[in-house]
Assembly symmetry: C2
């Protein structure tokens, strides 16, 4: 009871973020109204402005939250230090599945708004995905077998992998908790990653162009 004032504000703020996340499930941020959110939270519409300037600003906040959890995911994968390839594949896919299931609403949000959100939200998401690709590229550069790769080839490969992972996250969200469906998506992702890595390991043996 020491800091009741800021605590209550934070609680309402969280309630607004959660309500927004829930309400725009099945449509999009651009179709979400300030009044719907306020009604769901149980406050009057004008009180919304005490926390956010607009729905779009709320969206940018949700992007940050979502990618905070994604970053923690990637950090987990990286922390698996010594990679046999089949081990790094299993760990990566497993961690992805776990996080997407745990924070399903956030990942569903990103997958949707990446293509359909307000322009500023789209730009923020694109930027975060580019960051993730860049981080993956620097990690790939440390793996044995990639010493001779050009930075451009590393970028292209990590774009391919990140793209496949985004697609996987999308399908996990669509599977919506059905464990067998999630299981099959995970298996598909594992196989895809193996195919890609096999191709990558052989890459320099056939010169580009």
């Amino acid at each position: 009871m020491t800091e009741t004032r800021v605590e209550r504000k934070e609680r309402t703020r969280r309630a607004i973020l959660d309500a927004a996340l829930q309400l725009c499930d099945g449509s999009s941020l651009v179709a979400l109204s300030l009044r719907q959110v306020a009604r769901e939270v149980g406050i009057v519409p004008t009180a919304f402005y005490r926390h956010f300037d607009s729905i779009e600003a709320l969206g940018l906040e949700l992007v940050d939250e979502s990618f905070a959890s994604l970053r923690s995911m990637l950090r987990d994968v990286r922390s698996g230090s010594q990679p046999s390839f089949s081990e790094v594949v299993d760990r990566s896919v497993g961690t992805l599945v776990e996080h997407v299931e745990r924070r399903g609403r956030h990942f569903a949000f990103i997958v949707r708004e990446r293509a359909a959100g307000p322009p500023a939200v789209r730009a923020a998401i694109r930027h975060q995905i580019e960051l993730a690709q860049h981080e993956l590229a620097t990690d790939l550069a440390r793996l044995p077998g990639t010493e001779a790769w050009s930075p451009e080839d590393l970028r292209v490969l990590s774009a391919l992998i990140v793209g496949a992972m985004v697609g996987t996250a999308e399908q996990i969200v669509q599977a919506d908790g059905r464990p067998d469906a999630v299981q099959q998506v995970a298996e598909t992702a594992r196989t895809q990653l193996r195919m890609v890595l096999i191709g990558a390991l052989q890459w320099r043996s056939t010169p580009p162009a």
Copy 2:
């Protein structure tokens, strides 16, 4: 002047579809109002109902149109019969780039509404993409080197490729006509396809699991 009645109706119908395609650029179908469309076309809101039951029904029509052009694209690629691999890669990517640039609005529409459209529209798009994956899988089965593959592996591979192509289409749409950006996306896509195919050709040499 023989069939003026149905011609005029068809012309208005096209104008509605085009206006909808243009207006939901930058947001989404779920944020598009019947009145906006009518205003843009130059008809009164109620006249909209002479052509479509709802915005959602209009969306389903747009899905059909978009995938009609995608199918023609895939047919073009297939018609390149005898494949050296580097040739099939170049043809595929070139055809994709050409079609996406030609029908940019339709592809932007699909990329957006696939994740954010009304549920029925989303389902229709997902279904069409699954069809495309299936057709690609049967084509892959005809290539030399895949004789021993399981149907499941074929499905996984074609899902990977179609996913990468959807991602490529997305980036071309984002490049929005800047020729150098489009060029780079195309080059990235070519490299990615080569990496995937190299991996695929070596696939059976390392058993799964």
